[in-house]
Symmetry: C3
């Protein structure tokens, strides 16, 4: 079970409540108690597991878990004595049950005596500000937020309700919606990479006069960077999630629900429509438009617009089917057999 030093548990919980949280149906005694969650391979009779990938079907049949959240197709494979919690979305169901057993601690309202908070900053009700946090002039932080140790919030920044700014992140020149999460070391709002060459070989900075706007429920990974706009704003649409070590250049705009995986980078002024996925270490040049639900493959190098619902891979990128055909030919070249 989860290490109680790090993950205090709220259980036990009744099977009926667990099923309701999971949005799952079951047969059996709804009063049966469970203590926590665990993986199939290690769970015991007081723990709940899940299966969402047939790769682990064997682990399902051998599990010691007391209950397993799974799709109907696997329900009859759960061992005797184990309750199947049946749902069409077992991964989502398990996320909700895990959260039931290990609810995220609420912020402890109050401002640590060591926090430096500007006199005209406004802090919402129920918000926790941690040791050595710095909140600048005129900043406004919403209700029920968590601002961890050593976070720096610049002058004028606006932060909505129920946001979490984790240790060591910094945010300036920005407006955040509600339920925004900045993971440790995230850097929001700094000056982007804009400068004009002079005739005598120097670079003069182009003032970056825009902001960063993060929509509701946006999450930004550890040590990721989002530069503010040069004249307009850099905008991350509601619900979008960025993994760690991601770079977002100035004036990028994304729609809702975009996913940008670790170490990917999006150059300035590129636009992502809704629900675009950019896989790990991919790179997009500037001034592109990526259509809704497009999927950019890992390590792809995108230099042209990508239509909606199109999957691309490679550098320079091409539609996935073409890519694999080209790679198969290349592999034959490598194996010494002509195309």
């Amino acid at each position: 079970m989860a290490d109680p030093r790090f993950f205090p548990a709220s259980g036990p919980h009744r099977l009926a409540d667990i099923a309701r949280a999971a949005g799952a149906s079951f047969e059996g005694d709804g009063e049966r108690r469970f203590a926590g969650v665990a993986p199939l391979q290690s769970a015991g009779p007081e723990e709940v597991s899940f299966l969402d990938n047939r790769r682990y079907a064997e682990a399902l049949r051998a599990t010691g878990a007391g209950a397993v959240i799974c799709a109907q197709a696997f329900a009859e494979q759960v061992p005797a004595g184990c309750v199947a919690l049946v749902t069409a979305q077992p991964y989502l169901g398990f996320a909700r049950v895990a959260a039931l057993f290990h609810p995220r601690p609420a912020p402890v309202p109050g401002i640590h005596p060591t926090a430096v908070v500007a006199a005209d900053a406004v802090i919402g009700e129920g918000t926790e500000i941690g040791p050595y946090a710095v909140v600048g002039a005129g900043a406004r932080i919403g209700a029920g937020c968590l601002v961890e140790a050593q976070v720096t919030i610049g002058a004028g920044v606006e932060i909505g309700d129920h946001c979490r700014l984790l240790a060591h992140c910094s945010v300036s020149h920005a407006i955040l919606g509600s339920h925004v999460v900045l993971h440790p070391g995230a850097r929001i709002g700094q000056e982007g990479f804009g400068f004009a060459p002079t005739p005598d070989g120097r670079f003069e900075t182009m003032p970056q006069l825009g902001r960063v706007l993060l929509g509701d429920h946006v999450e930004v990974g550890a040590n990721s960077c989002i530069d503010r706009g040069s004249q307009g704003d850099t905008v991350i649409g509601p619900g979008s999630r960025l993994d760690n070590l991601v770079q977002i250049g100035h004036n990028v705009r994304t729609g809702r629900g975009c996913i940008v995986v670790g170490q990917a980078g999006i150059s300035g002024s590129t636009v992502l429509e809704d629900y675009v996925t950019v896989a790990a270490q991919a790179g997009l040049t500037g001034h592109l438009r990526i259509g809704a639900q497009a999927r950019i493959g890992a390590q792809a190098g995108v230099m042209n617009d990508v239509p909606a619902k199109t999957d691309v891979m490679g550098s320079p990128s091409m539609p996935v089917r073409e890519f694999w055909r080209a790679m198969a030919k290349l592999k034959k070249l490598g194996a010494g057999r002509e195309g």
Copy 2:
């Protein structure tokens, strides 16, 4: 116009002063007043815009801006009532006008009471040291510098005049010239990646006994890392600019005016001559020499020296012309048509 919460404006300014700042000529009333800058698409009659890319020529013809900085070739396309500010370098001109309207605030001289500054550290006149900054023994910081919140300056570090060390950056084992900028989370001077394998399968650290030298006007992006030298120094030449999430390995040396774009990496002991450009996510192996004005393409993987004024792309990299020819052939392979 720029959000006044984040970008206080110094205007209004006279057209004649704006033109002088831009290095531009114009026809019209030099006393006409302007309030700020804005993009072509949204500017009003009291705002100044610019055009430096013919892609936006249509926006120029439709603009509501009161003045537009542009090249002679576009001067007759500015709408009636709009003043053309003509210069051969509109981008540079606009940078100077934007800075005129939104001058960077000067440091507020003084040391925040919470800053921990070693007794023998020397702080120059007019320098601002922010909350929770830490300045180590024997460090010397020049005049007119800005050291933001939570910056860590290690023992013995020397920093020239008019430098800006932004929130959360750290610098040790380093000597910085004047007008150096470290963006948030930049890491300067830490131990590089050097260790000796032992016969019994362990690694012993090779002491890294060099420093980092940053020339005048060098800028280092957010969360970028520059490791100190192992015996000699890691040197970034004057005026060079590094974007975010860049990695510079120990003993790298660059000439003046080099540009390293986001997430690129340069391995140890590689040398860049003057005015080299390394595009986003490119990687250079160690012990290379990259000639002056060479341009390394995005995501390139450079494993050999590159001559001066040469453009390379690909991984492994090759001259650009060869690269595109190879890609065209590869694309045909992918489309099912033989070379």
Copy 3:
């Protein structure tokens, strides 16, 4: 010689002691004194150099160093008056001599008055806690550790003896062995990138209920990120070293002595066996197994298991021999000559 502002020297030392530290044999006066170390090209008669790469043999013949650590094959090439310190492992020998002349300063025991340390945290004997460090409830830090300025150690974290946590790093939900080093800005233990899509287009976070376990002598580079496990732990095996800006996803496990070079990334649940090397900017997808002593080339994109002792390159990756053959063919295509 090393800049004494940054690298106090402990010399002079006797040649006999230097040889013993290097594990080297020599002919000459063991009482001869040396002041420090320096590269071949700049060393003087009171300094010790080394040669471990025949590329520098010419520098050996011309050196002014008083002693050079080298293999037997080069011993007769040292100039007259220069002592050859002969060992089969000159690089390792030099590392030990450099450490003899510039021993790493021991922690200065004590807790800085500005450090915020939870009342129930346990700090071992001889440990140094620097300004503005924050140590959370129930954390346990071993003996002889160095915790630099502004480091954040989360609740319940366990840290072994002789660890070094450098400026601005953060660690939560983790257990560290002994002699672990976290370089500036390293991020350990934060929530990994796990979330479930909902039918109405939102993302719900999958609680990440695992930890990070770092074995003895693990080192993590500047601004690198290691996410905690989702149910099990993310584990880095003893002696492994990660360079800067590396991303380690949740549930990754490595064996001992793994090397991950700058800006590489390993996706969730991938397993590395012992002594795997992942070169700069490489990327590995999730749920892979990489066999012992495999070597992943720079910028490789690994999408399948790699057998032990296998070298791969390319994206998608292939055995090195095939890769170079394919690249040679591709280069011919680019040069306009058919395969």
